[in-house]
């Protein structure tokens, strides 16, 4: 950690009723939570657009994807990536 950050950390610990380790955990928890909120927001937009991931998969199976418009396919890939990342972040959050 750069010395400026270490100096700041020592100053903060001198004032707040937390240890350096507490602050580190709080920082990690905040970063994870912010990303979870962002992903859940993106997830909700897909729910509004398609209903559920299964419905989007069914739509693609039934209608296919035109070379002119890959949007449903890109959305499905992104939706699955959201689910995967959310599960990783929730696991990390539980481990804290």
């Amino acid at each position: 950690m750069p010395s400026l950050s270490l100096d700041l950390l020592e100053e903060v610990v001198a004032i707040l009723p937390f240890s350096q380790e507490d602050l580190l955990y709080k920082g990690i928890a905040t970063a994870i939570t912010e990303r979870i909120v962002e992903l859940k927001r993106a997830n909700q937009q897909f729910v509004k657009r398609y209903g559920s991931r299964r419905e989007l998969e069914r739509k693609i199976e039934t209608e296919g994807i035109s070379p002119d418009d890959h949007t449903p396919y890109g959305d499905l890939l992104e939706w699955r990536a959201i689910g995967h990342e959310l599960s990783q972040l929730m696991r990390l959050l539980r481990a804290l």
Binding site: A42, P67, D69, H70, G74, L77, I82
Partner: protein, 132 residues
Amino acid sequence: MIIWHKLVRDKLLASRLFRDVNLVGAKVRATLDEVQFLDIHYDPTTGSYSYALIDLRLPFPGDKRLFGWDDYPHEGGPEMKALPSHPHHFQRRTANGRWLFEPSPMRGDVEKEMDIVVNVLQAYLARERSEG
């Protein structure tokens, strides 16, 4: 293990081709200018992918893709099925607006494949500049 979008962002940023490289939801969007951007979609659970250069000036309906690589086996196109890399393919708009499908070296190894994307994009930008 480092998450895929971080590796992709780092590679695209290192290319110095883009004005911005952002994570939008769970896709990476690398902006060239007001009308052109690269969208990288990747599903880490299956390895499926779609990498596309979007040009909002294109007059055609749809997703305004100028060219891109993906692994969706578009139905109904015999030229698609004939590709040796099927379902992996490269598609680009020709001057008359039709799609040209070509074999693709991409297989969903997203970090490594950003090198190919960057090389093709560099060649495209150089061509655009030389044509004025």
